[in-house]
C-alpha cells in the first residue's frame, strides 16, 4: 500500500481458506487451498503447511491441477493472471497474463492447451465463461489474450458451473434457469436445452439453484436448491423426456455437492454442518458425518478417491476419509463472527487470543498462521438457527502471566432479561490447559464494560477488577477455598466501589499495581489498590471516556484517556493535573508492554491513521496515515522474542514489539519494515514434507528412523568401532534425492559419486549435532513467516546457499561443486520451459 516507505502494512495470515473449493493433489498427499493472495499447500497427513505459493498480486480466485501434468497447479487471480506452479518445490513455472479479472478457473483434460475461466470484462456484474488458450512459449511471462467466449450472463460463483463427463456439455445455472451447453471438440456451440420454470411447484417456490455437479461417468446432473432438495437430472438431451429424482434431507439450502470419483456416491453439505453421503443416489441409502462444527461451504474429492474434504464457514478444512472419518483439520483464524473480546496475547504461548467458534476462545499462532486450540468457554451445544439469541462471549482477560483467565459471557433476550456469567480459569501445568476454577453468576446487575487483572510483579494476591454499566466496579481476589475434602482456591468479591451512580466504563491498573483507575462516564477516578480509597478524580468534560491506560516504565506517572468527543488527555498523577491534550478521535489505544510507547489509531472519513507516542510528550514518535480504508476495531502489541535493532528514530517503536490490528472486515494486519526479498522464507519447510514420506526404500536411505536405531546401537554396542555412516547427512545423497528425477544427469554419471559418498570418511563427526543445527535454523526462519504481498523469484539462490551452509563435508569440495553445478543448470532449464 505504501510501497516507497519502509514501514508497510502487510496482511499477516488469517485469510480465508474457505473461499473456494480446496483441491487435492493426484496422490492425495497434498491439499491446496486459496488463502488471500496466496495458494497454500498443506499435507493431508500432518495438517502442516508445506508451501505457500506467493506470486499473485490480488485475491486468488481459483486453483486447479494441470490435467496434463498432475505435478503442476494452475491458479487464477483477480489480478488477471493465470499462474502455473510446481507445487512440490513451490516454484512458479509460468505466468499467463489474461488482462481481465478472473473469478474462477476450470480445467478439462480434453482441451489440452486451454482452460476455462469466469471473467467480467465490461460491466461489473456481468460474468462470462470463456475459454482461455494458453500459448506454448518458453518465456516466463506469456500473454494469453486469446479468449473464446462460451457463455454469457452466468453466476459469479464457480459452484454454479460444472463440466460434464468427457466435456460433452457444460452445465450452468443462473438463479432459476439451468443451461446446458454442449461442447463439440474445439469449436463450441451453445444450445440452451431445457429450462426449469421457477414455479414448478408454487407451494414451495424456494427452488432456486445453489450449486451443481456432474456425474463423472454418466450423463447425470445433480443440482442443489434453496429448499434443501437435491435433484438428479437425467436424459436431459430431450426437452420433453428429461426426468429427475429428488433427494431430500437438508432442511436448509444445499451449499455444495460433489460426486465421488467413481460416481457411486454423492456428497452434499449445508448449514446443518453434516456431510451427507448418498450412496447409489438413492434416498434411503445415505450416510452421515455429523457435528462438523460449522456450515459446510465447499466439498471436494481427491482424484485418487480416498479422501474428501469440506471447507467450513469458520475457516476450517476437514479432510475426511472415504469411510467418513475425519482425519485431519486445517484450521485458520476463525472469522465468521464478530469479535467482542478484542485481541489479546496469551503470555505463555504468545498466541493471539480472540473470539473463535461460537462460545469458544481461539488461540491463534501468528508465526505459523494456524489455530493452536479452541477453549470452550460457554460449554453448551451451539444450535445454529436464524433468530436465536445466543450466549455471547463478551470479555476476556489474562492475568498473572497467563496463570489466570477471566471470561464474561452474556445473553440478552429483552431489555430487562440479562443473563451474565463470569468465569475464572486457572492454567493447569499438568494438562497444559485452562481449567474452570470459579463461576460467578450475575457478577453485576448490568453488562460488564471492562475487565482487568492487576499484573504487577510484586503483587502477592491475584486481583481482578470488573466495571459495569450498573455503576459499580468490583474487585475480586483469590482466596483460600479449602475444606476438609480438598485444598482449593476461589475468587470472591473483595470491594465494591462506585462514583455518584455513574456507569463505570473502563478500568485499568497502573504498572506497579498500586493504583487503579476507573472511569465513570466523563470522570476518571483513581483508587488506592491496597486500601481501596478514592485518591483523586479527573474530569475533562470532553465526553465519556472510551479508553483509559497508564503509562509504562519511565512514563508510569501519566494516565491517558481518550474520550468519545475525540480528545486525548494525558494526566500527571503526581501533580494531579492535565499534562496535555490533543484532538484525536481515538478508536484503538494500546500500550506497548515492553516500552513507554502507546499506539493510537484514529478514525477519519479518509480511513484510519496510526499515531505512536510517549505519554511524556505530546509530539508523536511516528505517524502513518491511511493504514486501512476501513475502521480498525482492535489492536495489540506482540512482544518480539528477539528484539530488532532499528536505528532510525521512526521505527524504534517496533524494536521490542510488533503491532497487529484487526479491521472491521476482519483482516489481520501488521507493520513490517523488511523488504519483500528479506521476508521470503527459504524453502526449508520442504523438510516437513519428508516427514510424511511413505516407507519406501528411499525412505530408508533418507530416513530419520535410522537415527534412532543408530542411537540405540551406539548405546548398546558402545565398543563397536565401526560407525555406520548416516546417509541423511551426506550432501551427495541428499542432493541426489532432492533434485527432481527428470533433471538429474544419467545414473552412470552419478554412480561413482554416490558410491564414494557412502564410504566412511576419516573425519568423525557426532551424529547428533547436525540435525539440531538444522532444527535451529528452521526455527529462526519460520519465526518471521509473515506473508508478503509481493514475491520475487529468487528462491533458488537462497535455497542453495542455505543448504550449502548446512553441509557437513564428507565429500571433496570439487565433487560437491560439480554436483551443485548440475543443480544450477537444471533449474535454469526449468525456467526456460
Amino acid at each position: 500500500m505504501v510501497e516507497e516507505e519502509n514501514i508497510r502494512v502487510v496482511r499477516c495470515g488469517g485469510s480465508e481458506l474457505n473461499f473456494r473449493r480446496a483441491v487435492f493433489s493426484a496422490d492425495s498427499k497434498y491439499i491446496f487451498c486459496v488463502s488471500g493472495d496466496f495458494v497454500k499447500v498443506y499435507s493431508t497427513v500432518t495438517e502442516e503447511c508445506v508451501h505457500i505459493l506467493h506470486g499473485h498480486r490480488n485475491l486468488v480466485t481459483g486453483i486447479q491441477l494441470n490435467p496434463n501434468n498432475h505435478l503442476q497447479l494452475y491458479s487464477c487471480s483477480l489480478d488477471g493472471t493465470i499462474k502455473l506452479w510446481d507445487y512440490i518445490d513451490g516454484i512458479l513455472i509460468k505466468t499467463f497474463i489474461v488482462g481481465c479479472k478472473l473469478h474462477a478457473l476450470f480445467t478439462v483434460a480434453q482441451a489440452e492447451d486451454s482452460v476455462f475461466a469466469i471473467v467480467n470484462k465490461e460491466k461489473p456484474d456481468i460474468f462470462q465463461l470463456v475459454s482461455v488458450k494458453l500459448p506454448k512459449s518458453s518465456s516466463q511471462e506469456v500473454e494469453a489474450k486469446e479468449l473464446s467466449f462460451v457463455l454469457d450472463y452466468i453466476n459469479q460463483s464457480p459452484k454454479c458451473v460444472a463440466f460434464g463427463n468427457e466435456v460433452n456439455f457444460v452445465l450452468l445455472v443462473f438463479c432459476f434457469v439451468p443451461k446446458i451447453s454442449f461442447l463439440k471438440k474445439r469449436n463450441f456451440f451453445f444450445t440452451p436445452r431445457f429450462t426449469l420454470s421457477s414455479s414448478r411447484n408454487k407451494k414451495h417456490a424456494k427452488n432456486n439453484f445453489t450449486c451443481v455437479a456432474c456425474h463423472p461417468t454418466e450423463d447425470c446432473i445433480a443440482s442443489g436448491h434453496m429448499d434443501g432438495k437435491i435433484r438428479l437430472w437425467r436424459n436431459f438431451y430431450d426437452d420433453k423426456k428429461y426426468t429427475y429424482t429428488c433427494l431430500h434431507w437438508h432442511h436448509d439450502m444445499v451449499m455444495d455437492l460433489a460426486f465421488s470419483v467413481t460416481g457411486t456416491s454423492l456428497l452434499s453439505g449445508g448449514r446443518e454442518s453434516v456431510l451427507v453421503e448418498w450412496r447409489d443416489a438413492t434416498e434411503k441409502n445415505k450416510e452421515f458425518l455429523p457435528r462438523l462444527g460449522a456450515t459446510i461451504e465447499h466439498i471436494s474429492v481427491s482424484p485418487a478417491g480416498d479422501l474428501f474434504c469440506t471447507s467450513h464457514s469458520d475457516n476450517k478444512i476437514i479432510i475426511i476419509h472415504r469411510n467418513l472419518e475425519a482425519s485431519a483439520v486445517i484450521q485458520g483464524l476463525v472469522k465468521d463472527r464478530s469479535i467482542f473480546t478484542g485481541l489479546m496475547i496469551d503470555p505463555r504461548t504468545k498466541a493471539l487470543v480472540l473470539n473463535g467458534k461460537p462460545g469458544h476462545l481461539q488461540f491463534y499462532s501468528l508465526q505459523s498462521d494456524k489455530q493452536l486450540y479452541n477453549l470452550d468457554i460457554i460449554q453448551q451445544e451451539y444450535i445454529s438457527d436464524y433468530g436465536l439469541i445466543q450466549i455471547e462471549l463478551t470479555k476476556a482477560a489474562f492475568g498473572c502471566f497467563g496463570n489466570w483467565l477471566a471470561t464474561v459471557e452474556q445473553r440478552q433476550e429483552k431489555e430487562t432479561e440479562l443473563e451474565l456469567q463470569m468465569k475464572l480459569w486457572m492454567y493447569n501445568k499438568k494438562t497444559q490447559g485452562f481449567i474452570l476454577n470459579t463461576k460467578i453468576n450475575m457478577p453485576h446487575e448490568d453488562c460488564i464494560t471492562a475487565l482487568c487483572f492487576c499484573n504487577a510483579e510484586k503483587s502477592e494476591q491475584p486481583t481482578l477488577v470488573t466495571a459495569s454499566k450498573d455503576g459499580y466496579f468490583k474487585v475480586w481476589i483469590l482466596t483460600d477455598d479449602s475444606d476438609i475434602y480438598k485444598k482449593a482456591v476461589g475468587w470472591t468479591c473483595d470491594f465494591v466501589g462506585s462514583y455518584h451512580k455513574y456507569q463505570a466504563t473502563n478500568c485499568c491498573f497502573s504498572e506497579d499495581g498500586s493504583l487503579l483507575a476507573v472511569s465513570f462516564e466523563e470522570i476518571v477516578t483513581i483508587w488506592d489498590s491496597v486500601t481501596w480509597e478514592l485518591k483523586c478524580t479527573f474530569c475533562q468534560r470532553a465526553g465519556k471516556i472510551r479508553h483509559l491506560c497508564f503509562g509504562r516504565l519511565t512514563c508510569s506517572k501519566y494516565l491517558l484517556g481518550a474520550t468519545e468527543n475525540g480528545i486525548l488527555c494525558c494526566w500527571n498523577l503526581l501533580s494531579c493535573a492535565l499534562e496535555w491534550n490533543a484532538k484525536l478521535n481515538v478508536r484503538v489505544m494500546e500500550p506497548d508492554p515492553n516500552s513507554e510507547n502507546i499506539a493510537a489509531i484514529s478514525q477519519s472519513s479518509m480511513g484510519s491513521d496510526l499515531f505512536v507516542f510517549k505519554p511524556s510528550e505530546p509530539r508523536p514518535l511516528y505517524i502513518q496515515k491511511g493504514i486501512s480504508r476501513e475502521e480498525v476495531q482492535w489492536g495489540v502489541f506482540v512482544p518480539r522474542d528477539v528484539p530488532e535493532s532499528f536505528t532510525s528514530e521512526a521505527y524504534q517503536w517496533l524494536n521490542r514489539s510488533q503491532f497487529y490490528f484487526l479491521t472491521k472486515s476482519q483482516s489481520l494486519l501488521t507493520f513490517s519494515t523488511k523488504s519483500p526479498e528479506e521476508k521470503l522464507t527459504p524453502t526449508s519447510k520442504q523438510l516437513l514434507a519428508e516427514e510424511s514420506l511413505p516407507t519406501t526404500p528411499f525412505y530408508f536411505i533418507l530416513g530419520k528412523h535410522r537415527q534412532h536405531q543408530d542411537e540405540k546401537l551406539n548405546e548398546t554396542l558402545e565398543n563397536e568401532l565401526v560407525q555406520l555412516p548416516l546417509t541423511e547427512n551426506i550432501p551427495a545423497v541428499g542432493e541426489l534425492l532432492h533434485t527432481p528425477a527428470h533433471v538429474l544427469p544419467s545414473a552412470a554419471f552419478l554412480c561413482s559419486m554416490f558410491v564414494n559418498s557412502l564410504l566412511l570418511s576419516k573425519e568423525t563427526k557426532s551424529a547428533k549435532e547436525i540435525p539440531e543445527d538444522v532444527d535451529m535454523e528452521e526455527e529462526k526462519e519460520s519465526e518471521d513467516s509473515d506473508e508478503e504481498n509481493d514475491f520475487i523469484e529468487k528462491v533458488q539462490d537462497t535455497n542453495n546457499t542455505g543448504l550449502g551452509e548446512d553441509i557437513i563435508h564428507q565429500l571433496s569440495k570439487s565433487e560437491e561443486k560439480e554436483l551443485r553445478k548440475f543443480r544450477k543448470i537444471d533449474y535454469s532449464w526449468i525456467a526456460a520451459l
Binding site: 461417468t217 454418466e218 438431451y237 420433453k240 428429461y242 426426468t243 429428488c246 434411503k284
Partner: protein, 686 residues
C-alpha cells in the same frame, strides 16, 4: 337465480371401500377396478374417466386379482378360490370356476390372451385355457412351498415369474417346471424380518425380472442366471404393487406409505446404448397403502386403502396440455346412492349392505342470505334396513310420497310399504314378487307414486302398478332383438306419460307409458349418459354426457330443442368442459320452466335458458354478482350458468319445494377418519 333454504346434510355416513386391484385394457382404454368388498367397476378412460359399469360386491368374494384377457374379457379371482368372468354387456357374472387350489392370490393372462394363470394358496400355479365361452383347466406347474402372491408372463409367453414368500420362481411354460429359484433377502434396514413377501413381479422381454417385496425393496434379477442385478431400497414399509409400461421403458411401484415411485429406463450417456433403470419421481397422492398400480401409455394409475383412484398423467407423454394432463382423483361412485321423498322430506341412503331412512330437520328461523339457521327439530334416523344375504345392494329408491321403498341385490328384489302413524313407522314387505323381478339395475317411482319402473339386468323394463298395499305387473318392454344391453338410467316425466331409459353405450330410448310402446330413440352419442331427467310441462328430456355436454331433447317433437341446438352451435365454456366429475343428477324448478338444476361432486349449477350463454372470455364462475351494481351491469355480466361451489364433495342435491334445497355432502376428512390409521411417518419439524 333466487334464494333457497338449503338443508346441508352431512349425516350420510358413506365410506367407499378400498381399492384392491386395477387392470388396464389397452385396446378399449378401459380400466377395471375391484374393491375390497368385491365390487368391480369399469371406467372408460376415453370417456372422461366415467364409471361406465359396475358389478356389485359379495361378502364372501374378496377379489385378489383382476385381469383382462382375449381382448375385452374381464376375469377376476379371489380368496374364495373361484375364477369369475364378467359379462360386460348384461352387467352380471357369466360364470365362476373353482380352481381347487385354495384362495387365489394372483392371476395373469398370457401375452396372447388365450391362457390364464392363477397362483393359489397351496403353492400351485394353474394354467387355464380360455375358450370362447368358458375357461378350461389345462395343467398344474411345479408346486411351490408357499402361496403364490404374484405372477408375470414373459412377453414371449415362454416363461413366467412367480413371487412367493421369500423367493421368486421362474417357470418354463412348456415343461411347467421351475427353472430358477431366486431367494429374496429378508434384511430390512439391517434388521432381519420374519418373512419377505414378494408382493409383485414383472417379467421384461430382456429377461429381467423386477420384484417388489415387503422389505421395501425393488430388485432387478437376471432370469437367465437367477442372480440379483440391482436393488433399490425405496421405502421403510412394504412395496405392494408394480406395473410396467407396454414399451418397457418405465414402471411404477406403490408402497404402503402411500407413495408411488416412477422408474425410468434412461441411457447412461448420450452416445452409448447402455441404459439403466433410475428411480425418478415420487408421487404422494395417497395417505394409505397403495395396493395396486397400473401403467397406461400416458398415465400412472394407483389405488389403495384410502379408496381414491388416482390417475397421474405423465407430462412427457401428453401431447397437448389439455385437461387430460391434469391429475384425477376419483373417490365417489358416479351413480346415485341417495333418493329423496319430496313430500315427506325423507332421504334414503344406500350403503353396501343396508339402507338408512332419515327425516330432514326443520327450522322456524329466518335469516339473511348466507346465514346458518338454527334447527328447531333435528334430523331423525327413521329406519335402518339391513339386507339379507351376503350380496351388496345394487340400487334403491324411495317413492316421492314416501310410502314405498324398493331395493335390489343381484338375486332378489325387495319392495316395502311404509305406514306413518304420527311418529311411528311400520314397515311391511310386499311378498310374492314375480319371478322375472329378480334383480334390478335401476328402480324408479313415478311422480304420483302409483307406478314403479324397474330396469332388470336382462335388458327388460318392467312397469308395475302400485295401489294401496297391492302390486300389479302392467307391462315389460323387451329389449331390441339381438341386444342384451342392460339399461342403467331411468327417467320418468312428471305426468307419468313418458319413460326414458339409457344403457351403457347405446342411445336413450323413450317409451310411451300410456300406449306401452317405444316412442323414439334419441340419436346416439359417443359418450355415455351420466344423468337424465324429463322436464315437467314441456316434456323435454335433458341428458348429460360424460364429456360434460348437456342436451335437451323434446320428446313430443322427437328432436333437439332450439336451445340445445344453440348451445351445440356455440359450444360450452372451456372451464365447464374441463370439470373432473360427471353430472349425476338433474332436476327442475316447478315454477321456473327455464331453469335446469344439475350438480356434480364439486359444484351445483342452475342453467337459466333465458339468459345468454357464456363464451370463453367471460367468467364462468361468478358466484354472486355484486349487489350494489345497477341492474344493467348485472344483466350484462349475467349468463346462463349460475354455479355454486359452496357444497363439496356433493353427492346429491335436489329441490324439495320451490324455496328449499337439500344438499348431501360427504367431507373427505370424515372418510379418512373412518379408515384404519396410516403408517406413521416422522415428519421433519414436528
Amino acid at each position: 337465480m333466487g334464494e333457497f333454504k338449503v338443508h346441508r346434510v352431512r349425516f350420510f355416513n358413506y365410506v367407499p371401500s378400498g381399492i384392491r386391484c386395477v387392470a388396464y385394457n389397452n385396446q378399449s382404454n378401459r380400466l377395471a377396478v375391484s374393491r375390497t368388498d368385491g365390487t368391480v367397476e369399469v371406467y372408460n378412460l376415453s370417456a372422461n374417466y366415467f364409471q361406465e359399469k359396475f358389478f356389485p360386491g359379495h361378502e364372501s368374494r374378496a377379489t385378489e386379482a383382476l385381469c383382462w384377457a382375449e381382448g375385452q374379457r374381464l376375469f377376476s379371482a379371489g380368496l374364495n378360490g373361484e375364477i369369475m368372468e364378467y359379462d360386460l354387456q348384461a352387467l352380471n357374472i357369466k360364470y365362476a370356476v373353482d380352481a381347487f387350489g385354495g384362495p387365489i392370490w394372483s392371476m395373469a393372462a398370457s401375452p396372447s390372451g388365450s391362457q390364464l394363470l392363477v397362483g393359489c394358496e397351496d403353492g400351485s400355479v394353474k394354467l387355464f385355457q380360455i375358450t370362447p365361452d368358458k375357461i378350461q383347466f389345462e395343467r398344474n406347474f411345479d408346486r411351490q412351498k408357499s402361496r403364490i402372491l404374484s405372477l408375470s408372463w414373459h412377453p414371449s409367453g415362454t416363461h413366467i415369474a412367480a413371487g412367493s414368500i421369500d423367493y421368486i420362481s421362474v417357470f418354463d411354460v412348456k415343461s411347467g417346471s421351475a427353472v430358477h429359484k431366486m431367494i429374496v433377502d429378508r434384511q430390512y434396514m439391517g434388521v432381519s424380518k420374519r418373512k419377505c413377501i414378494v408382493w409383485g413381479v414383472a417379467f421384461l422381454s430382456d429377461g429381467t425380472v423386477i420384484s417388489v417385496d415387503s422389505a421395501g425393496k425393488v430388485q432387478f434379477w437376471d432370469s437367465a442366471t437367477g442372480t440379483l442385478v440391482n436393488s433399490h431400497l425405496i421405502a421403510n414399509a412394504d412395496v405392494q404393487s408394480i406395473a410396467v409400461a407396454e414399451q418397457e421403458d418405465s414402471f411404477v411401484v406403490g408402497t404402503a406409505e402411500g407413495t408411488v415411485f416412477h422408474f425410468q429406463l434412461v441411457p447412461v450417456t448420450s452416445n452409448s446404448s447402455e441404459k439403466q433403470w433410475v428411480r425418478t419421481k415420487p408421487f404422494q397422492h395417497h395417505t394409505h397403502d397403495v395396493r395396486t398400480v397400473a401403467h397406461s401409455p400416458t398415465a400412472l394409475i394407483s389405488g389403495g386403502t384410502d379408496t381414491h383412484l388416482v390417475i397421474r398423467p405423465l407430462m412427457e407423454k401428453v401431447e397437448v396440455k389439455n385437461y387430460d394432463a391434469a391429475l384425477r382423483k376419483i373417490t365417489f361412485p358416479h351413480r346415485r346412492l341417495i333418493s329423496c321423498s319430496k313430500k315427506r322430506q325423507l332421504l334414503l341412503f344406500q350403503f353396501a349392505h343396508h339402507l338408512e331412512l332419515w327425516r330432514l330437520g326443520s327450522t322456524v328461523a329466518t335469516g339473511k342470505n348466507g346465514d346458518t339457521l338454527p334447527l328447531s327439530k333435528n334430523a331423525d334416523h327413521l329406519l335402518h334396513l339391513k339386507t339379507k344375504g351376503p350380496e351388496n345392494i345394487i340400487c334403491s329408491c324411495i317413492s316421492p310420497c314416501g310410502s314405498w321403498i324398493a331395493y335390489s341385490t343381484v338375486s332378489r328384489f325387495f319392495l316395502y310399504r311404509l305406514n306413518y302413524e304420527h311418529d311411528n313407522i311400520s314397515l311391511k314387505r310386499v311378498s310374492k314378487m314375480p319371478p322375472f323381478l329378480r334383480s334390478a339395475l335401476q328402480i324408479l317411482f313415478s311422480e304420483d307414486s302409483t307406478k314403479l319402473f324397474v330396469a332388470s339386468n336382462q335388458g327388460a323394463l318392467h312397469i308395475v302398478q302400485l295401489s294401496g298395499g297391492s302390486f300389479k305387473h302392467l307391462h315389460a318392454f323387451q329389449p331390441q332383438s339381438g341386444t342384451v344391453e342392460a339399461m342403467c338410467l331411468l327417467a320418468v316425466s312428471s305426468d307419468g306419460n313418458w319413460l326414458a331409459a339409457s344403457g351403457t353405450s347405446a342411445g336413450v330410448h323413450v317409451y310411451n307409458v300410456k300406449q306401452l310402446k317405444l316412442h323414439c330413440t334419441v340419436p346416439a352419442y359417443n359418450f355415455p349418459v351420466t344423468a337424465m331427467a324429463i322436464a315437467p310441462n314441456t316434456n323435454n328430456l335433458v341428458i348429460a354426457h360424460s364429456d360434460q355436454q348437456v342436451f335437451e331433447y323434446s320428446i313430443p317433437d322427437k328432436q333437439y330443442t332450439d336451445w340445445s341446438r344453440t348451445v351445440q352451435k356455440q359450444g360450452f365454456h372451456h372451464l365447464w368442459l374441463q370439470r373432473d366429475t360427471p353430472i349425476t343428477h338433474i332436476s327442475f324448478h316447478p315454477k321456473r320452466p327455464m331453469h335446469i338444476l344439475l350438480h356434480d361432486a364439486y359444484m351445483f349449477c342452475i342453467i337459466d335458458k333465458s339468459l345468454p350463454l357464456p363464451n370463453d372470455r367471460t367468467l364462468l364462475y361468478n358466484p354472486f354478482p355484486p349487489t350494489n351494481e345497477s341492474d344493467v351491469v348485472r344483466r350484462r355480466t349475467a349468463h346462463a350458468f349460475k354455479i355454486s361451489k359452496i357444497y363439496k364433495p356433493l353427492l346429491f342435491m335436489d329441490l324439495l319445494d320451490e324455496r328449499t334445497l337439500v344438499a348431501v355432502e360427504r367431507p373427505l376428512d370424515d372418510i379418512i377418519a373412518q379408515l384404519p390409521p396410516p403408517i406413521k411417518k416422522k415428519k421433519f419439524g414436528t
